[in-house]
């Protein structure tokens, strides 16, 4: 729209100061994490705080990867369970999303709402019975156990998201494929699901974030330290006198954040499109 009103100076200044403040507010804590992670112990305690360290060091990162450090092990557990969660969630959510979008059956609407409602229950309430259940079926301290638990929290969002995308795929395309001899299941795999790719990618990303960030499940359903993921691992690691090992803590934080930021940079547009398409009725 060509806005004929001339923006007043006050208006412009207000808008741009809000934006400038936002940028600083969003980025500075990140920057502070990074700059602290390359400071020496002495540098961290210097007053006034140094914006960028006068003595640059990678010692904090070397410590993380030292032979006796558990951090690489935590990292590996996080990565494996997060990738497992993405795979399981994407497959289950695509199937369920397709059925709920395209097929008509009894309780369809009730199932949709029930799936949404499961999201509201606090994880912490589930933990006690889940711990007892996992102990019985020997899922404590396993990747499988964590993947199943994470999946249950990523699924509701994924099912709704993928269902929404499939809803917008025209029925005629599917019918044409079936006419060409694809069969219903063939049409689903070759035509419908590929067209719902943005929704599937967004689901995968959310599943990854959910799993990677989850603290409660690995804090309680994993009791052996070698099987912990990064979030509970950090809490175990940075207690006692290490609670003020700021350099090490920020280096670990950086390592924990890095994969997320990389993935996010790669697929940002899918994420934003997927999120808002479901939320806003156009």
């Amino acid at each position: 729209m060509a806005d004929v009103r001339k923006a007043s100076t006050v208006w412009k200044i207000t808008i741009w100061s809000v934006i400038a403040a936002t940028i600083v507010w969003c980025i500075f804590p990140f920057y502070w994490m990074l700059s602290t992670s390359v400071k020496t112990d002495l540098g961290v305690y210097r007053i006034p705080p140094e914006l960028w360290p006068t003595e640059f060091t990678l010692a904090n990162f070397e410590k993380l990867f030292a032979y006796n450090s558990m951090i690489p092990r935590f990292f590996w557990n996080s990565l494996a369970t997060a990738i497992g969660t993405v795979l399981v969630t994407v497959v289950l959510a695509s199937f369920a999303g397709y059925a709920l979008s395209r097929l008509r059956f009894r309780f369809r609407y009730n199932i949709l709402i029930a799936i949404l409602v499961t999201q509201m229950f606090p994880m912490v309430v589930l933990l006690i019975p889940l711990y007892i259940l996992y102990a019985k079926v020997e899922l404590l301290n396993t990747w499988t156990g964590l993947i199943l638990a994470y999946t249950s929290f990523a699924l509701p969002f994924g099912v709704w998201m993928i269902k929404g995308f499939i809803d917008s795929v025209p029925l005629e395309i599917e019918e044409a494929a079936m006419m060409d001899g694809c069969g219903r299941v063939g049409a689903m795999f070759r035509v419908v699901l590929p067209l719902a790719t943005p929704g599937i990618v967004a689901t995968g990303i959310f599943a990854f974030l959910d799993a990677w960030n989850n603290l409660l499940f690995p804090l309680t359903l994993v009791t052996e330290i070698e099987m912990k993921t990064l979030p509970p691992g950090m809490i175990l690691y940075f207690t006692g006198q290490l609670r003020t090992d700021w350099g090490g803590m920020m280096a670990t934080s950086f390592l924990t954040t890095l994969p997320i930021v990389l993935i996010f940079a790669l697929v940002q547009r899918y994420l934003v499109a997927g999120l808002t398409s479901g939320a806003v009725k156009g």
Partner: protein
């Protein structure tokens, strides 16, 4: 009604000559996972709340009726947890809502060349909550924290404050960390909402000679009402269940002063090992959440 389906209930032939409806095959795996990890524990937790299941005194286990609930009514920490949950949640939601609105509106006003701003703004949202906790633990540290340094420079405080060791200050610090973490979500939702305001409405406003402030108050804000309601409800529910930020920053302390419901349940179960009592607190909590969830579902199905 839209035609969405060609055959309503196609059957699939399995190797054993069995014919199973396709929809059942497709949704059963997802429902099984949800039933095992969410439904079963919820039911089982509700049952547990009527039992004494204190791991420190195994000889006294057994059904005790509603005793857990009467204990709970007289438990000062329970009411403190309720207060903390409300302060934490509504403090975070109100502040994030206002900030989110202001930023989304500012971003909407500048030209599309600055679309990278959206990426920058989302950054705090994608960081793992534990990292957010540690980052702000550091920023609010009594000796080396930036918060003390900056506030002292500005003359707001004279001496270093032990932020995380004083009840009100600790809660404030947790809320600040939480706002930092979640405001991007509001910005994203509001920015999307601003895009849906129809062009002709904007043009009509323009023709009527409305100023920018008038447009904001009388056109923009009212059309965002639906999104504001849905986003806030969703975030109230999310914040009611927020665990990692508080647990990382204060562990619920000092004493129980930043212990919200979820932290309280966790501490009861995994620090005091009072499983039955923890389940009872969880039961009450689930009822509150179910009521809220009902509002949420209603708001979602309503056309704003």
């Amino acid at each position: 009604m839209n035609r969405r389906s060609t055959v309503s209930r196609p059957l699939v032939a399995l190797p054993g000559g069995l014919r199973v409806p396709l929809h059942a095959m497709l949704i059963t795996p997802a429902l099984l996972v949800l039933a095992g990890v969410i439904l079963y524990p919820i039911v089982s937790s509700a049952v547990l709340s009527f039992f004494n299941y204190d791991l420190t005194s195994p000889q006294s286990h057994g059904f005790i009726g509603t005793k857990n609930f009467t204990t709970l009514a007289a438990d000062a920490n329970f009411w403190l947890a309720l207060k903390n949950t409300l302060v934490f949640t509504f403090g975070s939601v109100a502040a994030s809502l206002l900030l989110g609105l202001a930023v989304a509106f500012a971003i909407d006003q500048v030209s599309d060349r600055y679309s990278w701003l959206r990426g920058v703004v989302l950054l705090p949202w994608i960081i793992p909550a534990v990292v957010v906790g540690y980052l702000f633990l550091f920023i609010f540290d009594v000796d080396v924290g930036l918060a003390n340094f900056i506030l002292k420079k500005l003359g707001v405080i004279e001496q270093n404050q032990p932020w995380l060791m004083r009840a009100n200050l600790a809660m404030f610090a947790c809320i600040v960390a939480n706002i930092w973490n979640q405001t991007p979500f509001y910005i994203l939702m509001f920015a999307a909402g601003l895009k849906t305001i129809p062009q002709d409405v904007k043009e009509a406003t323009l023709e009527m000679g409305a100023s920018r402030w008038q447009e904001f108050w009388y056109v923009t804000l009212p059309s965002l009402r639906g999104i504001m309601v849905i986003t806030s409800l969703l975030m109230v529910i999310r914040n009611f269940n927020n665990f990692p930020i508080i647990y990382t920053m204060t562990g619920g302390g000092p004493a129980y002063d930043t212990t919200t419901f979820v932290v309280y349940i966790f501490r009861l179960a995994f620090e005091n090992f009072q499983l039955g009592y923890a389940a009872a607190v969880g039961f009450i909590w689930c009822i509150v959440l179910t009521i809220l969830a009902a509002f949420y579902v209603k708001a979602l199905s309503k056309d704003f």
